[in-house]
Amino acid sequence: MSETRPVKIQVRGLSKVFGNQPKKALELRDQGQKRPEILEQTGQTLGLSNIDFDVYEGELLVIMGLSGSGKSTLIRCLNRLIDTTEGEIIIDGENIPTLSTKELLECRRRHFSMVFQNFALFPHRTVQQNAEYGLEIRGVDKAERTETARNALKQVGLDGWEDALPSQLSGGMQQRVGLARALANDSSVLLMDEAFSALDPLIRKDMQQELLELQHRMKKTTVFITHDLDEALNIGDRIILLKDGEIVQIGTPEQILTAPADEYVERFIEGVDMSRILTARHAMRPVRATAREDDGPRTALRKMSENGLDSIYVTSRDRKLVGLIDADSADKAVKEGQQSIQSLIHQNFRSVAPDEPLHNLFAMFSDKSFPIAVVDEERRLLGVVVKGAVLAELAEAGDN
């Protein structure tokens, strides 16, 4: 489904050899040799080997790997801070490795802004001047760039800090400046190189959340590098797993978690707290039976007993969730000869959206043991989650 989206950057057969005899290293690579053997035989380091992937318009693509996996090299190949050895990187019809110096300059200005691990703010420039940098070197006039930079700073919550120097700011705020500097540039792709790795865990979570919100608002194509799987799963629309300069797996966070491509990926996801990743959708069961608003108590009771339920959700004619009735009150109403269940319907249950993390569902089970209703935006009943199912899902995911 995602494959139909327009492609922003197309990477094909990208390789990078560090050393002075790249040809020799690639020959060995083509004979099936791996990085350590190539290093031993030629003294050349195979940084990246035969990388193929697409970056879709507007997505947040995470490239994840441990140190030495080549992720920093890869992101630097995209805007050619590092020259590639072979392969194509095509953005809007231009092949980046073959651009002339002048074209490359233009390409960087138009397409790429970058956020760095250690912020890389210019210490002699104020926050405002830092945010203006990209516009300034493009020759945008003073009034316009002041305005644009000010807006970008406002977006990251830094209004009022324009005249401060970076050294006067905390780490989290400095990285906001880094982000504002990139946003002000209004390039088509945002490259984030371990952008949150230098921040402490709490600030880091906040920044991830804010990035998600920004991304949601602006739909900016983003390539995000990280060594942290939790971060990757949290923010990535898709994740590319990199190991020893090769792609191990490309997929959505769910695909990576539920169908790890190999042992390497498995070992990676062992440490992940599954309850934060899996959602209500994974644990919900189809609804076996529902009562209709205009059913009588007798019908409702029969539906319950046929399906072995002691409570039943009531829906309207267009399948919207109205409420819940339980067997005891229905039984009582039948004995009292009531004709409608309207008065029996109560709201003493919890409902969640399908993408609610399982983690949050635990707490809801503590008081009552009614199943939790999973509803869409229009409150149509999609399914129910019972307590056992949550645990079962977690156990299963843990085993895999």
């Binding site: 960087r108 790429f112 890389a120 703010l121 002699h124 070197i137």
Partner: protein
């Protein structure tokens, strides 16, 4: 059995080279000489034209604004002592030589330093040359200066520039090379041209280091200007030189103390520029 190894006539070669230069490029040297002499005279006349108390006040004010009230008071006391010792005029002459030599040295050194920082090949050529310039005994520069520019202040400037230039080049190169790699990456990533990168990132960030180099250059220039009295340069060095010839340690020390005062003022003043730039 002993093999006769002919002596390498290094000295002869250098001399003939220098002779060649003096005979064939006398027009150039005379031109440089005239321009430099005009500069020296102009600055000297200007500083002499300002009354002693006026210049004292100006320098004290500058010291105060740049480095605080203590240096301001120190400047007044020090300069008053020099004036009292009747060393005002030689002090001004020395100051003139230092200022002009430093200006010339810095104007040459900064572009060379930048070039050496940006080009690895140039760096490898320039660094040994700088080692040579710095370790060659300072007096040796005085000798070729005379056939080029004759006895006097211009020769003194020539020798002083050569002797004092290396730290300014070295520190400029160092300063630019010390700019953190991620800032260079950031500048590149946003599409800076090489000159934008140089003027907006590399130079501003290396400024404190460059200023430290200029400070060193000034100090070396002052010491060389004193030595240059041996080839007829005016100034405090001349007073010392005369005291040596007449064996009058008292006069020698008086002039020496004046050099120390001038040196301390120049040093503190340029260091303060460096600090204010940094903060």
């Amino acid at each position: 059995m002993a093999i006769e190894i002919p002596r390498i006539e290094l000295g002869d070669w250098i001399e003939s080279g220098l002779n060649y230069l003096t005979t064939n490029y006398s027009g150039v040297t005379r031109g440089i000489s005239a321009v430099t002499q005009t500069g020296i005279n102009g600055l000297n006349d200007l500083l002499m034209w300002i009354p002693e108390w006026g210049l004292m006040g100006l320098i004290a004010l500058l010291c105060w604004r740049a480095a605080g009230i203590r240096l301001g008071i120190g400047a007044i006391l020090g300069l008053a002592l020099i004036w009292n010792l009747d060393l005002w005029d030689p002090m001004i002459e020395s100051l003139t030589l230092v200022v002009i030599a430093t200006l010339v040295a810095v104007v040459i050194a900064i572009p060379v330093g930048i070039a050496a920082a940006l080009s690895e090949r140039l760096y490898r050529v320039i660094m040994p040359v700088l080692d040579f310039m710095q370790t060659m005994p300072a007096f040796v520069y005085l000798i070729p200066a005379i056939p080029f520019f004759g006895i006097g202040s211009v020769s003194a400037i020539f020798a002083t520039v050569i002797f004092s230039m290396p730290p300014a080049i070295r520190f400029t190169t160092l300063g630019i090379r010390q700019v953190p790699k991620d800032l260079i990456e950031a500048a590149d990533a946003f599409g800076s041209t090489p000159s934008q990168k140089l003027f907006k990132v590399q130079l501003p960030l290396s400024l404190p280091t460059v200023m430290a180099g200029i400070n060193q250059t000034i100090m070396l220039a002052l010491s060389m200007v004193v030595i240059a009295a041996m080839i007829g340069a005016d100034g405090l060095g001349n007073e010392v030189w005369r005291a040596i010839q007449r064996l009058r340690p008292g006069d020698g020390f008086e002039a020496g103390i004046a050099v120390v005062i001038l040196a301390m003022l120049l040093d503190r003043l340029t260091q303060s520029f460096r600090k204010t730039r940094k903060s």
